[in-house]
Symmetry: C2
Subunit: 166 residues, 2 copies
């Protein structure tokens, strides 16, 4: 992948707690996210607790793209020391969202590029992510960035099953 | 998924440093792992460093299955505080291997069950993993355990690209 100049007036930084309402709006403004998230004011406690845990963890970062002082995109990056691939560190990308009004400006590309660059600086050998099978645009997007769809991503939801496993 | 009694004489515990040679042997004894890992004595430094990082991280655990005092299987479990899904914690499973001579004894099923139980105790709402597309047996195995293949798993290898992104 060649470097692509980021769109004008675009910057990246680690998210701060006061970004949470903007981040939550991005997470909820999504066909799948709309059913999963709770867009409320004030921000519901579970998001605040998760953000605090992420902030306190040296292996986690929430990165925001900022355009003209507004949060235009977000993703979560996790660094994972791993035994496989000769003890490599992996970077996991989750929750990539760009504001609907700002799509087509290559903000997502620049934001993921920022995450890849941070992963490289941390010595990661693999950057990985999963995207829902229904997000075919996303698959093409990541393939353009050099990702290969080599894996099947499998999920087990524990929500409604507490107590019935053991 | 209903609880399945583990095979006789099988136990689970968090891995210790002295398990590393046995763990490495399991990781290398695999069609894909054979090309990726370095099965050497002493254990190459990158594995030792990765294991130390995992041991020091309260969000990471390497779990071994032990049968008659021998390491019979291994997996790596990572707990990830996440903003999405209403600030849920996810559990990521990587590097699942069972000794070739001991396959068919449901050790893998019991080992993944142990990981799911640990994830549940940590309050995780989602357990996730990716498996190589070529591992069709593994897909069926995880589906039997209740996982759904809802996602595409995408990887970007940074190895031979250092310096060419920016």
């Amino acid at each position: 992948m060649n470097a692509t100049p980021p769109p004008d007036r675009l910057g990246f930084r680690t998210a701060r707690r006061e970004d949470l309402p903007s981040i939550l709006a991005l997470l909820a403004d999504d066909p799948l996210g709309a059913e999963r998230e709770r867009l409320e004011d004030p921000v519901p406690d579970p998001y605040v607790r998760a953000f605090s845990a992420i902030e306190a963890d040296p292996n986690q970062e929430v990165i925001v793209a900022e355009r003209d002082g507004q949060v235009a995109g977000v993703l979560q990056l996790t660094f994972i020391a791993s035994l496989t691939w000769q003890g490599s560190t992996r970077a996991l990308i989750e929750g990539v969202r760009v504001a609907a009004a700002l799509r087509g400006l290559r903000i997502g590309e620049a934001l993921v590029g920022e995450a890849i660059e941070r992963a490289r600086r941390r010595g990661c050998r693999i950057v990985q992510l999963t995207t829902d099978r229904s997000r075919t645009d996303a698959h093409r997007f990541y393939e353009r960035l050099g990702f290969k769809a080599t894996h099947v991503g499998m999920k087990l939801h524990l929500d409604d099953r507490s107590g019935d496993f053991h």
